[in-house]
């Protein structure tokens, strides 16, 4: 790891100010991605601004069906929140399968979304839940937020403060893990609204990161059952091929995970 300066602000305002004053500053949340990258000398921030001690970034509030999760809320806290479980158990289940207990007690939803790893789990949930990413300066629809591999709509120095969404009528996430990393090799989050609208978001498989599958959404909107996707074809040409799985296999997995998610929802 290269030398860096560590800061511990206690408000969002202070954090933004610290980043503004740093040569090449980075926010630090759980550090599960950032610290590992720094140890490998692939990142060399001049300053680290720690977001974990800012009270306003933490916690989960559920108001009727409207949900707000603070950006610095850990995966463990999402997984074990009873209020959240009552309205959207799918996101609790998703969080409970991220990494291992150590990662879940350190890693945060804000960090995961800001990082936008193409195999991360939360981005699929954000897209399928039609969530809003709230920052210190604006609100960004999930559809506009994830812009490419490890790319987001965040400006320099912009902090995610929370994510909000309305809990759907039904939702579930099914993930087929990469045997080595256990990140998603194909992860599918399905959500169905009371008005029958369906969203199917896929992570781990797209060559440009998380995406929605309109074909399956349409099929499921007409017939909310696992069999509905039977005849839908998943185009492999936009999918990833790597050491662990070909695009064709990922296409197959997306269908299987979608069916299973619908069955589980």
């Amino acid at each position: 790891m290269y030398q860096t300066n560590y800061h511990r602000p206690s408000s969002v305002q202070e954090a933004v100010k610290l980043i503004g004053g740093a040569a090449e500053g980075k926010y630090l949340a759980g550090g599960m991605t950032l610290i590992a990258t720094m140890k490998q000398r692939l990142a060399a921030p001049s300053d680290l601004v720690d977001l974990r001690h800012i009270a306003e970034l933490k916690g989960i509030t559920v108001n009727g069906r409207s949900v707000r999760i603070g950006a610095a809320t850990t995966h463990h806290d999402v997984a074990s929140s009873a209020e959240l479980e009552a309205v959207c158990p799918a996101i609790c289940a998703l969080a409970s399968h991220i990494g291992d207990p150590h990662v879940r007690h350190m890693g945060t939803i804000g960090g995961s979304i800001a990082n936008n790893d193409p195999a991360a789990d939360y981005p699929a949930a954000m897209l399928a839940l039609d969530a809003t990413i709230v920052t210190n300066s604006r609100q960004i629809a999930a559809a506009d937020f994830f812009t490419g591999l490890f790319e987001t709509a965040l400006d320099d120095g912009e902090i995610i403060t929370a994510i909000t969404f309305d809990a759907p009528a039904k939702a579930a996430y099914q993930k087929f893990p990469n045997p080595a990393s256990r990140y998603a090799m194909a992860g599918v989050f399905v959500a169905r609204r009371d008005n029958g609208e369906v969203r199917v978001a896929v992570t781990g498989a797209g060559s440009n990161g998380v995406f929605r599958h309109q074909g399956m959404e349409a099929a499921l909107a007409g017939n909310w059952s696992p069999d509905a996707v039977g005849n839908i074809s998943v185009d492999a040409s936009d999918l990833l091929t790597d050491l662990h799985a070909s695009a064709a296999y990922r296409a197959k997995l997306i269908k299987v995970m979608t069916k299973r998610a619908v069955a589980a929802a």
Partner: protein
């Protein structure tokens, strides 16, 4: 046996230390003035070094020096060697290319060391290592061993045209070919054995300390065999003569073979310590470990197995290409030859066998012994072939094996080995009963109703442990003898120290070796200390690998104990005015049989040291040493059965049950044996299901350089194992033990692949059986 003697389930003495963080590993060692080394490594798989410019690096904060291969060469440090000479079938010696500890002209794999930075801190050394400017002229790359043999491929070493190191054979080609020509049935298979990264929990490390006052070197290192390291560094690498070099391998956190070899880093740390005048420590990081720890396996083979009309095997013909990587590591040549082809008879009576093995240089990390070393390759090949043959012949896997089992001992195979004892049918029956083989059909039907494909597979393995009779291995090309030494020191108060040349890095010697002593003298194991891993404390030894510590290391201890026992009895007889032949040792006392006369063990020991009243002419003290050279290999064997369920939609395999029925000879500590089997099974299952090293064939970059891409087995990948032993004592060593350290890794891969291929109805599947491969194979079958 007593509660702590041979056969007792004694908890491991060393675990308190390990579990409470009190283990002392090489990286824990610190000495005054110590500095840190970081290596500059090649980012190219193959390149000429045009120049190295360390001017900027040397000027950086905390940097003491930057040293390169030219300086190392100028100081007369020798090439790394392979210590086992193999001759090609045309009689020519193996073609060993030069391996410089720091490459001075050419780099041949990604990670090849070219320079070392010594600095006040690891971070400063890393910063400076990044500032060393190496000008490379990249060369074309070859990573595939089959391709590397072809004409027109990149050449790694001028000594080895077409990258071939040797073209070796074993067995009778003519008899084998004739039997195949006359066969009623011939099964032909192509077998790939995947390349593995060893992944010891503790990464390699070395601390070199040069003392200019005495012109003496001390090397702390993560070694499975510190004496061998000292011998090789003295005799071949010209680091220092043996009396000027102390090698200490303290607690070592796992080796699996990868810590047998002497690597560039320990040599460079010693040399750099002299050059810079400060002690120099290097600790490998995980990425470096993936790049530079010697890998295992990587064979491509074709097999023909011939049967007569009664389904008896009449011949086996094997052609293997073994990838040895960029350089010949210390034992690399014997692994795909004498540790492999000699086991190709398996548990079967095969009249004719012929094996041809070609070894090849490629632009990849060196390949050497990895848990099992050669025997897993032989077992996988043979047991996959047996399974295939059973399917082709329409026989049950058990039936084909029963027809072909060796049933009388000793048995001379056509490939050197003389099996001394065994009962293969007993293991097969035990495993089948434990797995409820007969109930499988019903379980398969039940799984089918849930949409799952269930399969069952077996593997009957044999391996050779207890390396090895020195004259035998010498005649086959080994550069060293493979005996072991021990010394037993009884202190004046009766406590005991055992010095052993075996090295413990997870095997539990501090417990099992003490159990031998407890068993012999009836003293508590707490009064016995096992001393190992330091060339100043233990005179000589050959270390731990090839499951040799029990069969060879403990046998040396037993021999030394014989001598101590004889002298102790003489002293006791003298003290009690009895006949020495009437003395028995029980519960810590020396007794005159049939009387109530006795002397406590400690009192006898005290008498040996006060020497006030010893038999006439007896030397004072009680300390005896022994060297033990085995008269044969030992032959552990067993039967493993695996049952799986495959999800046809995803290709995901779940192991439903895994049964291991082994014959390890006599057992010193059943709990430790079970632990060794569990660990071995986990590694074998890892190989079969998950693990695989991949290089980019275009540029030789390592694609699996972290746990993000290299899949290690985890607890939830594994079932709860059902292990048992039914033992035939080994007739060739005093304890009747065979060895159990590698069996799990040897026997398990074919059982698992046989089970998956049974489930999906397609025999064409390679390791690791990743979900995608299984899914594709399952669908190809339908």
């Amino acid at each position: 046996m007593g509660v702590e003697g041979i056969g007792a389930r004694v908890a491991r003495k060393e675990d308190k230390r390990f579990l409470t963080g009190k283990g002392r590993y090489t990286d824990d060692m610190s000495v005054p003035g110590m500095k840190y080394a970081v290596f500059v490594r090649s980012p190219h798989a193959h390149a000429k070094i045009k120049s190295i410019d360390a001017t900027a690096a040397k000027a950086m904060p905390g940097v003491i020096d930057v040293l390169d291969g030219k300086q190392l060469t100028a100081d007369g440090i020798g090439n790394l060697i392979c210590g086992w000479m193999i001759h090609s079938k045309d009689g020519s010696p193996m073609r060993m290319g030069a391996w410089r500890p720091l490459a001075d002209e050419t780099v041949r794999y990604v990670g090849d060391a070219v320079a070392v930075v010594v600095a006040d801190s690891v971070n400063e050394a890393r910063d400076a290592a990044e500032a060393v400017i190496v000008d490379y002229d990249p060369l074309p790359v070859v990573t595939d061993p089959v391709k590397a043999l072809a004409d027109g491929q990149p050449q790694l070493h001028p000594e080895a045209p077409n990258n071939m190191i040797f073209d070796w054979e074993l067995g009778d080609a003519a008899a084998t070919d004739a039997a195949i020509a006359a066969a009623a049935h011939v099964t032909e298979v192509k077998i790939l054995n995947n390349r593995l990264s060893p992944n010891a929990m503790e990464p390699r490390a070395a601390l070199g300390i040069y003392d200019s006052g005495d012109d003496h070197y001390t090397c702390y290192t993560t070694s499975q065999n510190p004496h061998l390291a000292r011998l090789v560094m003295s005799a071949f690498y010209n680091v220092a003569p043996e009396n000027k070099l102390r090698v200490i391998a303290p607690d070592v956190g796992g080796g699996f073979g990868s810590k047998i070899y002497i690597y560039p880093e320990e040599i460079v740390c010693l040399w750099a310590s002299k050059r810079t005048g400060v002690p120099v420590k290097w600790t490998c990081d995980r990425t470096e470990a993936f790049l530079t720890d010697a890998h295992g396996r990587d064979h491509v083979s074709t097999v023909k197995m011939a049967f007569d009309s009664a389904n008896k095997i009449t011949a086996l013909k094997v052609d293997t290409i073994a990838n040895l990587g960029a350089y010949m590591s210390l034992f690399s040549s014997c692994v795909p030859t004498y540790l492999y082809a000699t086991l190709l008879s398996g548990q079967y009576d095969i009249p004719a066998i012929h094996a041809n093995v070609r070894t090849v240089y490629t632009n990849t990390a060196p390949v050497d012994a990895y848990r099992g070393a050669g025997r897993p390759e032989a077992t996988y090949l043979l047991e996959r072939t047996m399974e295939t043959a059973a399917r082709e012949l329409g026989l049950s896997p058990a039936e084909l094996r029963r027809i072909n089992f060796i049933r009388s001992f000793p048995h001379q195979t056509p490939v050197i080995m003389n099996y001394d004892a065994g009962d293969y049918e007993a293991s097969l029956n035990a495993a089948m009963a434990a797995a409820d083989w007969d109930g499988f059909a019903a379980r398969k039907e039940e799984a089918e109703r849930r949409g799952m494909k269930r399969g069952i597979g077996m593997s009957c393995y044999i391996e050779a442990c207890g390396l090895a009779p020195s004259s035998a291995v010498g005649s086959l090309g080994a550069g060293v003898g493979l005996w072991e030494s021990a010394e037993v020191r009884v202190n004046a108060v009766g406590t005991i120290e055992v010095m052993t040349g075996s090295h413990s890095h997870g095997q539990g010697h501090e417990t099992t070796f003490a159990q031998l002593v407890a068993d012999r003298f009836g003293v508590p194991i707490d009064s016995v200390n096992i001393v190992h891993g330091d060339t100043d404390k233990v005179q000589m030894g050959m270390g731990t690998y090839g499951s040799r510590s029990g069969a060879v290391g403990m046998s040396a201890v037993a021999k030394a104990l014989d001598k101590v026992e004889a002298k102790a009895k003489k002293i006791a007889a003298h003290l009690m005015e009895a006949d020495e032949s009437d003395i028995v040792i029980e519960n810590g006392e020396l007794k005159v049989a049939g009387t109530d006369k006795s002397v406590p063990w400690f009192q006898m020991a005290l008498a040996a040291y006060t020497a006030h009243n010893l038999p006439a002419g007896m030397e004072p003290g009680l300390k005896e040493g022994a060297f033990y050279d085995p008269s044969n290999f030992t032959f552990p064997a067993g039967c493993y059965i695996c049952e799986v369920e495959v999800d046809p939609d995803t290709g995901q395999t779940e192991i439903i049950q895994f049964v291991a029925a082994d014959d390890f000879g006599n057992i010193i500590n059943p709990m430790i044996v079970e632990g060794q089997v569990h660990g071995g099974l986990a590694q074998g299952i890892g190989q079969a299901l998950l693990e695989g090293v991949h290089y980019d064939p275009e540029n030789g970059q390592l694609l699996t350089a972290s746990y993000m891409d290299y899949a290690m087995p985890r607890a939830d990948d594994l079932p709860s194992f059902k292990v048992s032993t039914s033992n035939t004592p080994c007739p060739n060593n005093p304890l009747g033990v065979k060895g159990c350290g590698e069996a799990g890794a040897i026997g398990s891969p074919p059982a698992l692949i046989n089970a998956i291929t049974d489930a999906i109805g397609n025999n064409a599947l390679t390791m690791p059986a990743t979900p995608e491969k299984v899914w594709a194979a399952a669908h190809a079958a339908n």
